[in-house]
Amino acid sequence: MSFPATRLSVVERTRSGDEETRRVALAAIIDAYWKPAYKYLRLKWSLDADAAADLTQEFFTSALEKEVVEKYDPARARFRTYLRLCLDGFASNARKAERRLKRGGGVDVVSLDFETAEGEMATHEPAVAADVDEMFYREWVRALLERSVADLEDYAAELGRPEMFEVFARYDLADEGEARPTYTAIAAALNLTTATVTNHLAAMRRQFRKIVLERLRDLTSSDEEWEAEAAKLLGARR
């Protein structure tokens, strides 16, 4: 399947009358966006780690309290762009008010691990400030793909075929600086035939694409926005 079945995305569910549905949807949005937001504040707004963490907490608390997410108009911008613009406005107001950023503390729907985000920044800081907007997008993509990889691992485990995910991880998740292993090397390491490795890889990639597109649909507000984001994410012209 390539086009996710029609259903309400988390963005759409933030408008739900049911408090629990709305809370879960907002938690999903925070889960997808808090890390890009934190890194964006650190770099674009040159905030130190504590101030960026405070402002991130406060922003998402505000997103809950002031219904920032619910005010989103899909006709005017992609949700990702809207949220980044809201973050800019929020940071600008905070700076203008010259107020000390107090701890937000109200975000209890997800735990935000700023220490990890800070550690990641040490190795992935953009070279120039002009890259910051692109960095926001890339961090958003990173968050999306990380969760999709986790989903894929769960999928393989549920099938009772963890080795399928292992093939995928060894081939497509090889780390920075690592050369991609050959099919033969993976086959030897996992005691599989080369044909099995290529079959597993093909099956996992198909499932991965499906998961990514479904998650993406969840984070967009319309089919049109989903198509545009999917083309940007998966089209070869990036």
Binding site: E120, R138, A174, L234, G235, A236
Partner: protein, 295 residues
Amino acid sequence: MISDRAIDRLREAASWPELDARYEITGVAGFGGMGTVYVARDHVLDRDVAVKVLDLADRNGSRARRLQREAHILARLDHPGIVPIHDAGSLEDGRAFYVMKLVRGRRLDDLIRDAVPIATRLTMFDRILDAVAFAHAHGVVHRDLKPENVMVGGFGEVYVMDWGVAQDGSADAEAAVVGTPGFMAPEQELAGDVDPRADVYALGVLLALVSGEDAPASLRAIARKAHAVDASRRYQNVEAMAADLARFRNQDPVEAYQESAAERAVRLYRRYELPILLIVAYIVMRFVMLVWRGV
């Protein structure tokens, strides 16, 4: 956290098409408006091929239909200037694709930046005209002719590519306004449905680019006539344009240009340079002999 390298690999993993065992994707050859062209190894025939694949399967299937229509157009247009198609189908994830000959060469927009002699440029342009005229004869209007859609192979062979927005008279042909600004005929900017003169217009723009700023006035006039704003003032078909271009190459007077007496003299001199030089040499020799005898 997954690394930047892993992000790229994961995006690639999720986007590269999984074809059957026959075709193994090995790289990206280029990009189109709605899809990507990959290089693949055809393990059955042991050769490289190009595979055009939609980036996304769409909800209403319109993109898939468009790609399939393009595949059918290519299958219909069996011509040395139009890339041959080998296979077509849909991936498991719903994306349509087709397999075609892999053209190894350079795009025309890249090639004309080099100091290519005008005669070579016009030879290439003639081949473009030939391919487009053939398509018109089969009821197909390309609608997006531009240097980026022309490939020149290593042996000077020319391929008119990207027939994705071509109009072929079929019911599901693109009715919307399509094309590239600067190459689109005025009537094409207003309505999707056009006649072959829209391609003549684009060919006029293309000829102006191919022939360069230093082109002779009569060649520039051919380009100008081809991309006249009023379709009725253009060449009415590609054959008429090709005929005028042939006249230019043969140093005959062209239909598009009214030459002065001096230009006519220069043209005739160039055309009959050798006989004229021989006659002049004969006259000079006779004169010298007469003078010598007189002495």
